[in-house]
């Protein structure tokens, strides 16, 4: 760090640099405390034995100089100047017993402490940065992370899920193949199923319409579908030899009954 250089014994160089810094690098100071710290170096003494009075004078001279050079000083430099002027007067005048608050010496001691602390922090900061650093002086393993973070998704299903799934399909209320999944169509398969269940009781001739499923007679479309499929199913059952079917004339009602004797 630059400050450390100033503490070496090449004082002439340091002084010259410091003097230059005062004028040229006004903006380079990190605030009034930093400036005070730099100024204090010209006293070449332990910061604890620093003459705050002298420092205050130096600071005020600096501010005057800056003014004469028409350098714009930030407000906090001016505030510090005012405070130091106040401190200077306190240090020079005998203490007023009626006045409250810390004495000029106490204020000066605290300022000295602050300067010493700032100086100390700069030194340790420099020591810290001079340490061996990761990625510069020592190195972590170069290869990318070997730890695999695998996210594994497992799908589970229990036997119960499986059986319930199957049961759900097999007991679906109106189970029909999806191609026939139309509300108003009574399929021949359905009719056949229904007829098979009914023909056992059809000992007497009965009208085809009496075999239509319930609820299918009101809507004409449904009626037509149910009639057609029931008729087709009847023909199928006739073909299989389970049923006899007759019609007296064209457009007369179609009647059917269970076949009791084998066909000739």
């Amino acid at each position: 760090m630059a400050e450390n250089l100033f503490e070496e014994d090449q004082t002439s160089v340091a002084e010259r640099l410091a003097a230059e810094a005062l004028i040229v690098d006004v903006d380079g100071f990190e605030g009034p405390l930093d400036l005070l710290l730099t100024l204090s170096r010209t006293q070449k003494v332990d910061l604890r034995k620093i003459s705050v009075l002298q420092l205050a004078k130096q600071y005020l001279i600096f501010v005057e100089k800056a003014k004469s050079l028409r350098l714009e000083l930030a407000a906090d430099y001016l505030v510090m100047a005012a405070w130091l002027a106040f401190l200077k007067s306190r240090l020079l005048l005998p203490p007023d017993p009626t006045e409250d608050g810390p004495s000029g010496e106490e204020l000066a001691a605290h300022l000295a402490f602050q300067l010493e602390r700032l100086q100390a922090m700069r030194e340790v900061a420099a020591r810290l940065m001079a340490r061996d650093q990761l990625g510069r002086d020592f190195f972590a393993r170069g290869q990318t992370l070997e730890v695999q973070r695998t996210r594994k998704v497992t799908y589970t299903a229990t036997l119960l899920d499986l059986m319930q799934g199957y049961a759900r399909i097999r007991t679906r209320d109106d189970f029909r193949p999806f191609v026939m999944d139309r509300e108003k169509v009574f399929t021949m398969e359905q009719a056949l199923e229904r007829m098979r269940g009914l023909i056992g009781y059809a000992g007497e001739w009965g009208d085809l319409t009496s075999y239509l499923p319930e609820g299918w007679s009101d809507d004409p479309v449904m009626y037509r579908s149910a009639t057609a499929s029931t008729f087709a199913a009847s023909l199928e059952l006739v073909k299989e030899g389970h049923l006899e079917i007759r019609q007296s004339t064209s457009f007369a009602p179609i009647q059917m009954r269970r076949r009791t004797s084998p066909r000739e």
């Binding site: 695998t150 497992t154 799908y155 589970t156 059986m163 193949p177 999806f178």
Partner: protein, 220 residues
């Protein structure tokens, strides 16, 4: 350049002791991000080092350790010992329920195997998405069975050993039957229909689809 100069140069760059070379080699192998060749290592080492020789010692030193010097082509790298790889895996297992479509499809295959896609669709009453079958195949719960000897020679699906193992079954025959399902209260209302009406054309259609899509994969 004279002989004297040569000698002087050599002595100036005297190689560090082998033990030190081995340390250097170790540090380099550790820090580099890629496997590194002996030539590259030597370029980093002080003049006069013998990377090959140091490597012999280093490999010996790591012999049987948790970290190994492995050869990758003509380069070297440090790797964790293969048998300890399991320590490095941080697995987060996420368990998801199988979708309803997948469960039903699986159930149909289990109860009806070998089952064609068309048959599954017929029973479920909706078409089976490719993803569902893929998922079941991936889970190793179903596999392709023999092609059916029906027109189109559709592929069939059967359940696997993995399926049986997962569901704790000894054989597909151990699947509870409809009667048992019913008595267990799993089947509610109505009795199952007898024969399922098969839709001839549809099956063919779906099969043709299958054949077209998978013929390269499953023709046997």
């Amino acid at each position: 350049m004279s002989d004297a100069d040569d000698i002087k140069e050599e002595s100036l760059f005297e190689a560090p002791p082998l033990a030190e070379q081995e340390r250097m080699l170790e540090a380099i192998l550790f820090a580099v991000s890629e496997p590194i060749t002996l030539r590259e290592i030597e370029a980093r080492l002080p003049h006069g080092c013998d990377a090959a020789e140091a490597m012999v010692y280093l490999r010996k030193r790591y012999d049987g350790r948790g970290v190994q010097v492995v050869r990758v082509g003509d380069a070297y790298a440090l790797r964790t010992a293969v048998d300890l790889g399991y320590l490095m895996q941080k697995e987060t297992v996420e368990t998801r329920k199988l979708s309803r479509a997948a469960i039903e499809t699986l159930a149909i295959i289990a109860y009806h195997q070998p089952a064609t896609r068309a048959e599954i669709e017929e029973i479920r009453g909706v078409s089976v998405s490719r993803g569902t079958l893929d998922q079941l195949l991936e889970l190793d719960w179903i596999r392709f069975g023999r092609r059916k000897l029906t027109p189109g020679r559709p592929v069939t699906f059967v359940v696997t050993q993995g399926f049986l193992a997962h569901f704790g079954l000894e054989s597909p025959r151990d699947l509870p039957g409809l009667k048992e399902l019913r008595s267990a209260g799993l089947l509610e209302s109505r009795p199952a229909f007898g024969a399922l009406p098969m839709m001839g054309e549809d099956e063919d259609e779906a099969d043709l689809d299958n054949v077209a899509g998978q013929s390269e994969l499953f023709e046997d």
